[in-house]
């Protein structure tokens, strides 16, 4: 009976998805990025119509090439019959990974956006163009807003695939709940809540048709405006001090960090390493191969019982010198510039290195790689690293100052 009932339920579900697809597939659209010189498409994605005037919502990461290299790339809407129509980017929200395009396609039905809050476990349907295979519908389950993230994200249990980015996820009434944005595989997928798109659309509509198109300058501005709130939270109420070997160090710098630890105990080696690491889970997509906004805190304890002092310090030096800075591309960032000092806070004498690099095209934004190595024992050492990306100089010095002052002996 249960099996039969289940089968019947599945049939009903299938029917529901078919019905929704038939009704709403035309609301969504394929978007492609074309390399101007060769005329070949360099990226594909999805989007959906949201006004009668041809406004389309999609992800920033779908159209990022157009913002980064407007001279080389343009965006196009691909009609169901395969013909293409030019589209211009009229508004971006790089932090939440959204963009609004304006096309001259006026004959398509569109989703009127409104605030929707689904129930936990509610069935949702994602529309999009997975791997450029054609418009598809995927059923999934609403699992609430992610906790502990910097940027609001809906957790959807559904197999969203590359190419579906920018497509809408709708409820059974056909209301847009969120915009497909990312997947972690195994049916774990993420949506940008619809309220972010509503806000961005308002910006696009209010700026008028003659407004300047968004540029990298605006990307930099949005990144600077966004960060003050979360930087204020760091090393605040949620931060905890923990015992780490003979040291006390800070962990869980803010609620939006995830922390974990691990140790390596290899019988072959005359020393041990213990790590404690906290990172933000989400970063901001800027361009192919370039993200920003991730923050990492890393404590590493090196201990030995058998190495003599010079041997231990040779090991400690190499641990301290091992690179754990964020990666970067020449097009986007400068070389690292470092300042090294021996520093003493209230408790610990340490070697401290601050390396900075600047974003080339986003105005005054920097990445920082701050490393500390505590001095004073020849059987145990602490290397603490704070990696900050896409911050203003004020913010990163503020955080660095706090970070250096918190290290102490137990």
């Amino acid at each position: 009976m249960i099996l039969a009932g289940h089968a019947l339920g599945a049939q009903q579900q299938d029917a529901r998805a078919t019905e929704l697809f038939n009704r709403f597939a035309a609301y969504a659209t394929r978007i492609q990025i074309v390399e101007k010189l060769s005329g070949a498409k360099s990226a594909i994605g999805s989007g959906f119509f949201t006004t009668a005037a041809g406004h389309i919502v999609t992800n920033y990461h779908v159209i990022s090439s157009v913002i980064n290299r407007p001279d080389r790339y343009r965006a196009e809407v691909v009609e169901p019959n395969g013909s293409t129509t030019a589209a211009t980017v009229v508004a971006i929200d790089v932090v939440h990974d959204l963009a609004i395009l304006k096309s001259n396609v006026h004959d398509r039905p569109f989703f009127a956006l409104q605030q929707v809050t689904p129930r936990h476990g509610e069935r949702l349907f994602s529309l999009g163009n997975p791997r450029d295979l054609g418009m598809s519908i995927v059923e999934g389950t609403y699992n609430g807003l992610l906790e502990h993230t910097l940027y609001p994200r809906i957790h959807l249990t559904a197999p969203i695939n590359p190419g579906m980015s920018g497509g809408p996820t709708i409820d059974e009434q056909g209301r847009v709940v969120g915009i497909n944005v990312a997947t972690e595989g195994n049916e774990v997928s993420f949506l940008v809540p619809v309220d972010r798109a509503i806000a961005l659309l308002q910006t696009a509509l209010s700026s008028g048709p003659r407004a300047e198109p968004p540029t990298l300058e605006l990307v930099g501005k949005q990144l600077r405006q966004h960060q003050d709130t979360y930087v204020k939270e760091m090393f605040g109420a949620s931060a905890k001090m923990i015992d780490f070997g003979p040291f006390r160090v800070v962990t869980q710098p803010a609620a939006f960090f995830r922390c974990w630890g691990d140790g390596s105990r290899n019988q072959e080696l005359p020393y041990e390493r213990t790590r404690h690491r906290c990172t933000t889970e989400d970063d901001i997509y800027l361009d192919v191969d370039q993200t920003t906004g991730s923050l990492t805190l890393n404590h590493q304890l090196v201990t030995t019982k058998t190495l003599n002092a010079p041997q231990f310090f040779a090991l400690y030096t190499s641990t301290f010198g091992t690179d754990n800075s964020p990666s970067g591309e020449e097009e986007y960032v400068t070389n690292w510039k470092c300042v090294t000092r021996n520093v003493r806070n209230n408790s610990v004498t340490m070697r401290a290195v601050m390396c900075l690099r600047r974003y080339r095209k986003l105005g005054k934004l920097y990445d920082a790689n701050l490393k500390l190595a505590a001095l004073g024992r020849s059987d145990v050492g602490l290397v603490s690293t704070l990696n900050l990306t896409g911050l203003t100089y004020d913010n990163l010095t503020k955080l660095s100052d706090t970070f250096i002052k918190q290290v102490s002996w137990r």
């Binding site: 080696l269 010079p310 040779a314 390396c355 900075l356 920097y366 660095s400």
Partner: protein, 318 residues
């Protein structure tokens, strides 16, 4: 013009003979020139003027014969200045008595510092090579963090010995001169001394960079030490070979090392401008009491970060 016969026997000893009368060469004691060489016949060769008045060497039916350029020669060879013949394991070389020789060098060895003279004695060179090898072993041992350091220490000792011998060997061969004196021991002593100086300078720079991370002079001073050591090394090799005057040796040494140095600096500059997403900084940590380490306050350090920011700004907007 008269020809002089230069004989270099299998032990490297050289003798000169004038050729104003016919001479016999062989191992037998009745010969005019006696070669103590088991590969030479009792009566091996005869040197005489032939019917046309040309100086000729005749093989007297010996077992191993006479070799020119490694090939067994016909029984009679007409020789000229510069002709070289091999007889057994010895070499016969015919030289013009009017051949120009370089001017005499000023002998300053009695004025050379005691240390320099000691360096080239048997004991001195042995001590230097042992010290350089020992230093390599010590530095490897102190730098290792493996459970058993023996393998890497032995490896370092072997590497040090092989590399020093190779370097000294190249100089010995290149500067052996007309007399074929290799002077390997002297070249090894010079090489070992340079290795010791560089090792000590490296260690000292490392410590200075640890204590004073924000000052450039340690690396500048280190460069100067390397430059001087390299010059001294080259001058030293030339001294061992007895080539050139003292002033010229140093000129050559400084010239060569300065050229290498400028080349290296240009390569360094070019690489500095290359993009890399790996930061470079002096990471030295040393096992000393924190009390003797000069430190800054956190606030001073945070203020100093502006220097990195300014450099990054400059790199972004050149």
């Amino acid at each position: 013009m008269a020809l002089i016969l230069e004989i270099r026997d299998r032990r490297g000893a050289t003798t000169w003979h004038s050729l104003n009368r016919p001479l016999t060469v062989g191992r037998g004691l009745s010969n005019d020139i006696i070669l103590d060489d088991p590969y030479v016949d009792a009566r091996h060769a005869h040197i005489l003027l032939d019917d046309f008045g040309a100086l000729t060497v005749q093989d007297l039916g010996s077992v191993n014969g006479l070799l020119t350029n490694g090939v067994r020669a016909p029984t009679a060879i007409v020789v000229q200045p510069g002709t070289e013949l091999r007889i057994g394991r010895s070499t016969l070389r015919f030289r013009d008595s009017d051949e120009a020789v370089p001017p005499a060098l000023v002998d300053a060895s009695h004025r050379a510092p005691l240390a320099t003279r000691w360096m080239f004695t048997d004991r001195g060179s042995l001590v230097l090579v042992a010290a350089a090898t020992g230093l390599a072993a010590l530095m490897t041992w102190l730098g290792t963090s493996e459970r058993s350091a023996a393998a890497s220490v032995i490896g370092a000792v072997l590497a040090a010995l092989v590399l020093m011998s190779l370097w000294a060997g190249v100089w010995a061969i290149a500067l052996r001169g007309a007399e074929r004196r290799f002077q390997m021991r002297g070249h090894l002593a010079v090489t070992a001394a340079a290795v010791i100086v560089i090792a000590l300078a490296t260690t000292l720079t490392d410590w200075l960079q640890f204590f004073f991370p924000d000052t450039a002079p340690p690396s500048l001073a280190f460069s100067a030490v390397v430059l001087l050591t390299l010059s001294a090394l080259i001058a030293g090799h030339l001294t061992v070979a007895g080539a050139l005057s003292k002033r010229r040796r140093w000129q050559v040494g400084l010239g060569v090392s300065a050229t290498l140095f400028v080349g290296g600096m240009l390569i360094g500059l070019a690489q500095d401008e290359k993009f890399s997403d790996v930061p470079k900084f002096p990471a030295q940590l040393k096992p000393v009491s924190p009390r003797i380490v000069p430190t800054q306050t956190v606030d001073q350090f945070v203020k100093a970060m502006a220097k990195a920011r300014d450099e990054a700004d400059k790199a972004a907007n050149p």
